[in-house]
């Protein structure tokens, strides 16, 4: 939200990822001063559709794309601004990401890592068709890039989470980093409540919302590959740990994913609550595990079988 250049490196490192803006996250994640933006705000590539709805446009359409360095290594990066229109996929925001992924796919000289800082409720309704299609194009571009040897790493920990198309996009990536605050899913709790009733999902019950979609549950079921502290340094460390040697996108990987998703369905399909699910996974005291600090949880997650896999 604000310029972080005035702050010391230490306070920048410890700033909350959850509360930060897309630009703050890029600044905090990447090596200082290394980020170069493509189609920056000064080019004013905005959505032409929002004005029809009397909504303000943003100079970047809520998608910041560019290149920089992470731990000295070149990376391409895209960050969604969850506060602008819920970080949604739309014609322009989607196309910016697609352009970045296709560039990575087509140019072996470009960095072989793409970081996706997801923070999105899914498709922008005011541009629903363009947005939905953009997600389909993004998913295909991710697969094409992965097939060309590019590692695509999703980072989830923003206020909008990663729902709808963003949830599918995350799971199309080579690797997923998530923090406790991060939420990952398809249909948002409010929509489930509206359509299926409050008995099915009470969206006001945040403990339930996070139990169902939040970072800790995702990490425990193997829905993410790394667990980050909710700080710039935390996400940086987690992303660095995933750099290099991505698993290939091939039949073996997908067969392994099929096996792991089938096993999950079999083992956890009957669980009715997050606590039951955690208990089935072997977490001795789900309530305590939910409330423990991040370091303790990361250690606990390491003891749960199936959280680490090469099947995505």
């Amino acid at each position: 939200m604000t310029d972080m250049s005035n702050q010391s490196a230490a306070s920048r490192d410890s700033a909350s990822w959850f509360l930060a803006s897309a630009r703050d996250r890029l600044a905090g994640l990447l090596d200082p001063g290394s980020f170069v933006e493509f189609l920056p705000p000064s080019e004013r590539v905005r959505s032409p559709h929002l004005a029809l709805f009397d909504l303000p446009a943003a100079f970047d359409d809520g998608m910041v794309v560019g290149r920089g360095r992470l731990d000295g290594q070149g990376v391409l990066a895209a960050a969604q601004e969850g506060q602008f229109m819920g970080g949604t996929f739309a014609e322009v925001s989607g196309a910016k990401l697609i352009g970045l992924l296709r560039a990575a796919r087509d140019n072996p000289d470009l960095p072989r890592t793409v970081l996706l800082l997801l923070d999105s409720g899914g498709v922008r309704l005011q541009e629903a068709n363009a947005g939905e299609l953009a997600v389909a194009e993004v998913m295909r571009a991710i697969i094409e890039a992965r097939s060309a040897g590019v590692a695509v790493i999703a980072l989830v920990g923003g206020r909008a989470g990663a729902f709808g198309g963003a949830g599918l996009t995350a799971a199309t990536c080579s690797r997923i980093v998530i923090s406790e605050q991060g939420r990952l899913g398809v249909t948002g709790p409010e929509v489930i409540e509206t359509n299926q009733g409050v008995e099915e999902f009470d969206s006001q019950d945040k403990a339930l919302v996070w139990g169902v979609t939040g970072g800790r549950t995702r990490r425990l079921i193997g829905g993410s590959d790394a667990y980050a502290l909710d700080t710039m340094a935390g996400f940086r460390e987690a992303a660095v740990s995933l750099l290099g040697n991505p698993s290939p996108f091939d039949l073996r990987t997908l067969q392994a994913e099929q096996d792991r998703l089938a096993a999950r369905q079999q083992r956890l399909g009957a669980c009715d609550s997050p606590a039951a699910l955690w208990a089935t996974l072997g977490v001795p005291d789900p309530g305590a595990a939910r409330d423990m600090d991040d370091e303790a949880f990361a250690a606990l997650a390491a003891t749960v079988k199936g959280t680490d896999h090469d099947a995505r």
């Binding site: 959850f18 509360l19 006001q204 403990a207």
Partner: protein, 556 residues
């Protein structure tokens, strides 16, 4: 006719006692000892209530006798009618249903919070005959003068068979309500979560309780004082910095009360950071009359706070308070003990500063939380936020404020309580906080109220803090100066833009108005990283996981 002395009057002196006996007799078929089954609750109420009775249906700021409220709302309006409700909080929809159904007719209350909108509508439709909107202390006082309840419906965590009640941290209004009712031959009925052999602590002795109903569900408590640090804005942080630097530090305020808004939550979260860096620990904010605000946990844990007495409790704070008896008042059983009457009196007489937010401030400094179509009531803020003329003990901040107000005039030395309004110049949806006339004036006319509901009268207000700066009204010498001082911190609201720029600059030169830069504060430093905790979970971790936040705040 001549008055003859020394002849005993022949009138009956115990009609109240008779009435009570009749009511108890009518109710006896539903009771085994003091116990009444929950499915007989409505019948019990129909048996003990008489048309026109004054009834207190707690109805507090936080805890609610919700089962008894539902039971009363189901009563037959032909039997139970025209009740006069005398309770502090109109919080549940059922409270208003009573008037809709004709079960109740007249109302005297303090606070309406969530029912502020429906209450205003009911008043406009003349469905409620309004006595007055009180402060807590006023209403409690009138329980002993002219609004003594005939029947009190109270709520406790548990009871024993003798009717001894344990309320735990949520004692709140109950002792005063019950004492007024029981000692004037009224009937006291308690809903409890469970029946036990021995209560952990006797908050209300059983001989003041006539009936006990074990409710089918635990009573409702509103988590009214939980503020998520993640929601605190940079502007609120700025106003908090101004208040700490320009008022707490300036006057050396140690004994105080905070309102429930985000601005004061920001102050609480800045004590261990911003205020610590200014070396103020031990010199400010040590003793509070305050509910157990979760946002104060970091300041408590870092040794800032020495003692807190509370009006009520807060959901999830039980275990934490139990573990910090040096800070909170606790019973022999270890659980925290609150009391709204005592704490209101403490906040009125024993603190040097009240600071709180409001929705509207006019050119005289009068403030109100009434906005178009909503009557939120007062609660306790007008008690905290007033200069008690009955105060007779001195303290440095009180004397300093008094000196500023006296302007070197000869006369008896006298102090002033610091009464601070901390606001942002605009509220939600660009609604200006500063106005030429309070909405409550219009509302009072529409509803034909005897007087417009004013939260804090301008002559009690000593300072107004906004993101534009601090206006010290103690230093204003004329009505015109006062108006310009208020305009001078009213930002870009129409009131603010209507300032006399020259006059405002003069006031600033005299220190009546102080801008952030006058206090060495750069607004760009007002950053969220200054908050000692930035989420509810961090508050929980500060507490060593003793604080157990309500589910609706657990975003993890």
């Amino acid at each position: 006719m001549t008055l003859r002395s020394n002849v005993p009057s022949r009138r009956a002196w115990d009609t109240g006692q008779h009435s009570r006996e009749q009511r108890l007799a009518a109710a006896s078929r539903y009771a085994r000892g003091k116990l009444v089954a929950h499915h007989d609750a409505t019948a019990l109420l129909e048996a003990v209530l008489r048309p026109g009775d004054r009834v207190c249906l707690e109805g507090d700021n936080q805890k609610q006798a919700d089962f008894l409220a539902r039971s009363l709302a189901q009563a037959d309006p032909a039997v139970v009618r025209d009740l006069h409700i005398v309770q502090s909080g109109i919080v549940l929809a059922e409270h208003l249903d009573l008037f809709e159904a004709g079960i109740a007719r007249k109302l005297d209350f303090s606070y309406s919070g969530p029912q502020g909108g429906p209450l205003a509508r009911a008043l406009a439709e003349r469905k409620i005959e309004l006595g007055a909107i009180h402060t807590y202390l006023e209403l409690f006082s009138r329980y002993f003068v002219d609004l003594t309840p005939h029947v009190a419906l109270t709520v406790a965590r548990c009871a024993d068979r003798d009717g001894n009640l344990y309320m735990g941290p949520n004692t709140e209004d109950s002792p005063v309500v019950i004492e007024a009712t029981a000692f004037k031959q009224g009937i006291v009925i308690a809903q409890v979560n469970e029946l036990v052999d021995k209560v952990p602590r006797v908050d209300v002795p059983g001989d003041r309780v006539d009936f006990v109903v074990v409710a089918p569900e635990a009573f409702y408590v509103e988590p009214l004082f939980t503020r998520d640090p993640a929601q605190v804005t940079e502007t609120q942080i700025l106003t908090a910095m101004l208040a700490i630097r320009g008022i707490y530090e300036e006057y050396g305020v140690r004994r105080l009360n905070h309102g429930i808004g985000f601005n004061t939550a920001a102050i609480e979260l800045l004590l261990p950071t911003y205020a610590e860096r200014r070396g103020l620990k031990g010199r400010i904010a040590t003793h509070f009359a305050l509910n157990p605000h979760p946002t104060l946990i970091p300041a408590i844990e870092t040794g800032w706070v020495q003692q807190i007495h509370s009006f009520g409790s807060e959901v999830g704070m039980d275990a934490y308070m139990r573990a910090r008896p040096d800070i909170y008042f606790t019973g022999r059983d270890g659980s925290m003990a609150s009391n709204r009457l005592y704490c209101q009196a403490a906040g009125l007489y024993a603190t040097d500063l009240f600071i709180g937010s409001t929705l509207q401030i006019d050119l005289q400094g009068n403030s109100s939380t009434v906005t178009r179509g909503r009557i939120a009531g007062f609660g306790g803020a007008p008690n905290m936020g007033s200069d008690p003329h009955g105060r007779r003990h001195a303290s440095d901040p009180w004397l300093k404020a008094g000196r500023e107000a006296a302007d070197g005039q000869a006369g008896l030395a006298r102090g002033r309580k610091l009464v601070v309004q901390i606001v942002e110049t605009f509220g939600d949806k660009l609604v200006p906080t500063f106005v030429e006339q309070l909405d409550s004036v219009q509302l009072a006319e529409t509803l034909r109220l005897d007087l417009p509901p004013v939260m804090i009268y301008g002559d009690d207000v000593t300072h107004i803090v906004t993101e534009e700066g601090i206006a010290n009204l103690l230093l204003c010498r004329t009505a015109d100066e006062r108006e310009q001082a208020i305009r001078g911190v009213a930002g870009y609201t129409p009131v603010g833009r209507g300032r006399d720029r020259r006059a405002v600059e003069d006031l600033r030169a005299r220190g009546v108005i102080r801008r952030p830069e006058d206090l060495g504060i750069d607004p760009l430093d007002a950053h969220k990283s200054l908050l000692a905790a930035r989420s509810i979970k961090e508050l929980m971790h500060w507490s060593g996981n003793l604080y157990d936040p309500p589910r609706k705040f657990r975003n993890w």
